[in-house]
């Protein structure tokens, strides 16, 4: 008897404006089983419905969403049929949750102890035992100095520490099931690895079953016993983790795996066209939902939907035997030897900020003594964790901020001062692509006007702007008809393309891109990486800032590794990844999720517990 069985679960959402509201299936006939002590990974991109599964178990669907059918049995009780009180009594005790955003999951005005204590009271633990229990629990999640930590407030802790506190809370009741919804997505790579290892260790010791919801196939590969891959609200493939990864049966699973750049070697990527159907499209979709994007579809796929079939390995595909034949559609981008002329040199660059109130001001060093040279047409990756000074470096290069020390030479001219002459040189040579398109695109401008903004700045006539906008849209793989849309009416991937197109309209020789593929789904990320690889044929140089080592490995010729405002290592990508010199680089590489099929790492807990 399984601990948790989900049978034919269907969740619908109301879509459409006004009177013509329709019901879109967010989950369709989902069936899963989870045994005691087992870790089941729910893998899917945004919009696949994976979070809805967790929320249906918690009985906490967002407004407009409702369960239309099926059952969720936990310990032989149907969670969808029991009263709200009965469910409340069960949640936090027998079923615990680990949230995605640790900082917003804790109450900012209460101490760690006060929040742990409240949870203990809910569990019926007598007050006099709270302190001892709390100290023990925090020590268990390897937080240093638990005694003093109890008095601290959430904002005084790092994201990783907050997540440890929440994990301590989740395990406090020795629950039988833990639902972890993207528990490490908001954390840095090295912290992510430690948190996962910690969860796995606690899970093994307590024999807890875990429903691990993630968008990252590589992460799931490392921690899960079994995997279920979700696409457009339905499970398309399910089975043992090793078997699903080594021998995927559904084309989508295979495509997901091939869309991830590898850490160990540069390889081609699978680039799927288009994106997963949104809510409105789901309401009308028929047949195999993946068929429009499927590289091996044939007649009948679009008409007929195959149910999940098989015993231990289940797949919802008519032609599973074709799946292994899928090969990457975009070749690996070529390496370019750094032989061109220097386009950008940075010498001893530093930036200190003065912080604090009117009194007790002190300096914080965001960047210190950074020096490197970028040649024409070269792709330079900048990697590091949050707070390493990557974004400060980008802002200094493009002139949004002035350095306190050092020099910046662009196209042979000193642009350090940022005066009118420097502004002209920057305008002629470089552009920046910002991280978050919803902030970087003016929500009130039409897409066409955004793309042609550089020409607007140069007072070019409207006809020319429209022509250039249409041309760039096509070059970005976007339908030129989208020019009359507002950014909010585009998908995330389309928005990011518009974001890139606007920078390219200025015909820069150097593009500075700050985390432009983070936060995007892997299949969309693969599309953008292929796009950037195509751009290099035009001879553009790129400073590519990213926390994702595999992506940098895939795209860049040279790489800079940053830690706490300093460059700790730089060199040819192949060399740095093959034989890292700095300890920090080795640490980063060890913490990154390993490639699928690579030997399972065993090293994680050997890393000393974090200081912050």
């Amino acid at each position: 008897m399984s601990l948790l069985t989900v049978e034919n679960l269907t969740v619908t959402a109301r879509v459409g404006q006004g009177g013509v509201a329709r019901l879109a299936p967010v989950l369709r006939g989902v069936g899963l089983a989870l045994d005691k002590g087992e870790v089941l990974g729910i893998v899917g991109e945004s919009g696949a419905g994976k979070s809805m599964l967790g929320r249906a178990i918690a009985g906490y669907l967002p407004p407009g969403f409702s369960v239309a059918g099926g059952r969720v049995d936990f310990n032989r009780r149907n969670l969808l049929a029991i009263t709200a009180e009965a469910r409340r009594a069960m949640l936090g005790r027998e079923i615990a949750f680990i949230p995605q955003e640790p900082l917003s999951a804790l109450n900012p005005v209460r101490t760690v102890f006060s929040q742990l204590g409240e949870h203990y009271t809910h569990l019926g633990i007598p007050r006099r035992e709270h302190r001892a229990r709390a100290i023990e629990a925090l020590a268990e999640v390897q937080l240093p100095d638990p005694e003093s930590l109890l008095r601290r407030f959430p904002h005084q802790l790092s994201g990783g520490m907050c997540q440890r506190v929440l994990i301590a809370m989740a395990f406090a009741s020795r629950p039988r099931l833990i639902v972890a919804d993207e528990p490490t997505t908001a954390l840095d790579v090295s912290v992510q690895a430690r948190i996962l290892e910690l969860m796995a260790a606690l899970q093994r010791r307590a024999g807890t079953a875990v429903l691990f919801i993630t968008h990252d196939l590589r992460l799931a590969a490392g921690i899960c016993d079994r995997l279920a891959v979700l696409y457009a609200g339905a499970v398309v493939e399910e089975g043992g983790a090793a078997s699903v990864l080594s021998r995927p049966l559904h084309p989508y699973t295979r495509a997901l795996e091939l869309a991830n750049p590898a850490l160990s070697a540069r390889r081609g990527l699978m680039v799927l066209p288009d994106h997963m159907p949104g809510l409105a499209a789901l309401a009308e979709a028929t047949g195999c939902r993946f068929a429009p994007r499927c590289p091996v579809r044939s007649h009948g796929c679009a008409e007929r939907e195959i149910p999940l079939i098989g015993d231990d390995r289940r797949v919802a595909c008519q032609y599973p035997e074709r799946t292994l034949g899928i090969t990457p559609s975009a070749p690996a981008p070529p390496h370019r030897a750094g032989t061109g002329e220097a386009l950008l040199s940075v010498e001893g660059l530093g930036r200190r900020f003065r912080v604090g109130g009117m009194f007790r001001r002190h300096g914080v060093t965001a960047l210190e003594d950074a020096s490197f040279t970028l040649r024409e047409g070269e792709f330079l990756g900048v990697v590091g964790e949050s707070g390493s000074g990557k974004s400060t470096l980008a802002r200094l290069i493009v002139g949004l901020d002035r350095p306190t020390t050092g020099r910046i030479i662009l196209a042979g001219a000193d642009v350090t001062k940022g005066d009118a002459a420097a502004r002209q040189i920057r305008l002629a040579n470089l552009q920046m692509v910002f991280q978050n398109p919803s902030s970087a695109l003016n929500p009130r401008r039409r897409v066409g006007s955004i793309v042609a903004q550089a020409l607007e700045a140069a007072h070019r006539p409207t006809v020319e702007r429209e022509a250039v906008a249409a041309e760039l849209m096509r070059a970005m793989g976007l339908d030129p008809a989208l020019v009359s849309r507002l950014p909010a009416q585009l998908s995330g991937g389309q928005r990011q393309r518009v974001n890139i197109a606007r920078a390219l309209a200025a015909r820069p020789r150097l593009l500075v891109a700050d985390e432009i593929v983070s936060g995007l789904d892997v299949s969309i990320q693969a599309q953008l990486l292929a796009l950037l690889a195509r751009l290099r044929a035009g001879g553009i140089a790129l400073v590519f800032i990213s926390h994702d080592l595999a992506v940098v490995r895939h795209l860049c010729d040279r790489v800079i590794v940053m830690q706490q405002g300093r460059i700790v290592e730089q060199g040819e990508t192949e060399r740095v990844f093959a034989s890292p010199q700095a300890d920090y680089t080795r640490e980063l590489l060890a913490a990154a999720p390993p490639d699928i099929g690579a030997p399972a790492p065993t090293r994680l807990l050997a890393i000393p517990p974090p200081a912050g």
């Binding site: 305008l427 910002f434 970087a440 003016n442 903004q453 700045a457 507002l486 909010a488």
Partner: protein
């Protein structure tokens, strides 16, 4: 736009439009010359009251002047003050808000402190002092309201400007070669316009009230102008004999202010971009 059909906005705009039209077409709408005195028919009751007649729908005041006609002409002063004062305060306030919020640094600091000092004066007292110094008259009423209320625009808008200025599309516009002026006009200002319109509508209502207060205490538009505040002051003496002398201007002020507030609220909802819509 279907959002403009929201009842809140429709009711508010209708009310304001009605008052505005009454003000513009006062000579055509008013049944009598508002200054004409009929000393044989003073304090006549309203048409529906005992002894009332349709000749004077809202009755007459203590000098035998037609209340309805005076009400209609009173809308002129009210609307003129409302529109002009709100425009003036909005211009000064938003200009300083844009300068402070966009430029930051010492400019922002100086403007912020000026607003702080300005706002520490009680607004009614400040306007009374100003009126005493300036003397009565329509233009001076407008000037007094502008001088008192620009801070309202400045403080609220500056916070919004600050938020918008730190969005990446503003930095992107600069990097693409937009001058500071164009960046402010094309990237920052459009984002704060909905808030500006809302504040403008609210300010119109406030201006109507302030004008009434000033006229009530005799420091308003002056004796030769017809104003609702003055009508209230006059009607107060005969409130038991002819209540509509007092009630009519009170209701007119109420309707105008409510109209402005509703229209402003509706406008904000209609203009605010739903950026989260997929």
């Amino acid at each position: 736009m279907s959002k403009l059909l929201h009842p809140r906005f429709v009711i508010g705009t209708s009310l304001v439009l009605a008052v505005l039209l009454a003000a513009i077409f006062a000579p055509l709408l008013a049944p009598y010359n508002p200054a004409h005195q009929d000393l044989l028919a003073t304090l006549a009751p309203a048409a529906w009251q005992h002894g009332g007649s349709v000749a004077h729908l809202l009755g007459t005041d203590s000098l035998g002047r037609d209340v309805l006609s005076r009400l209609i002409y009173g809308a002129r002063a009210a609307m003129l003050v409302a529109v002009a004062a709100a425009t003036g305060a909005a211009l000064i306030g938003s200009l300083l808000a844009l300068a402070g919020g966009y430029l930051g640094g010492w400019v922002d600091w100086s403007i912020g402190r000026a607003v702080d000092v300005w706002m520490s004066f009680p607004p009614v007292i400040l306007s009374l002092i100003l009126m005493t110094g300036l003397g009565t008259g329509l233009f001076n009423v407008i000037l007094a309201i502008v001088l008192v209320d620009w801070t309202r625009f400045c403080r609220v808008l500056r916070a919004e400007v600050l938020v918008v200025t730190h969005r990446d599309h503003v930095a992107a516009a600069r990097l693409l070669g937009f001058s500071h002026l164009r960046t402010v006009l094309l990237e920052v200002l459009p984002a704060v316009l909905p808030l500006l319109f809302t504040l403008f509508a609210l300010e119109m209502g406030i201006a109507v009230v302030v004008e009434a207060i000033l006229s009530f205490v005799g420091l308003g538009v002056g004796a030769n102008q017809i104003a609702w505040g003055q009508m209230i002051a006059d009607g107060r003496q005969a409130v038991f004999e002819a209540p509509w002398n007092l009630l009519a201007p009170v209701l007119a002020i109420f309707a105008t202010v409510a109209g402005c507030n509703l229209a402003g609220d509706g406008l904000r909802r209609a203009l605010d971009l739903d950026t989260t819509r997929a």
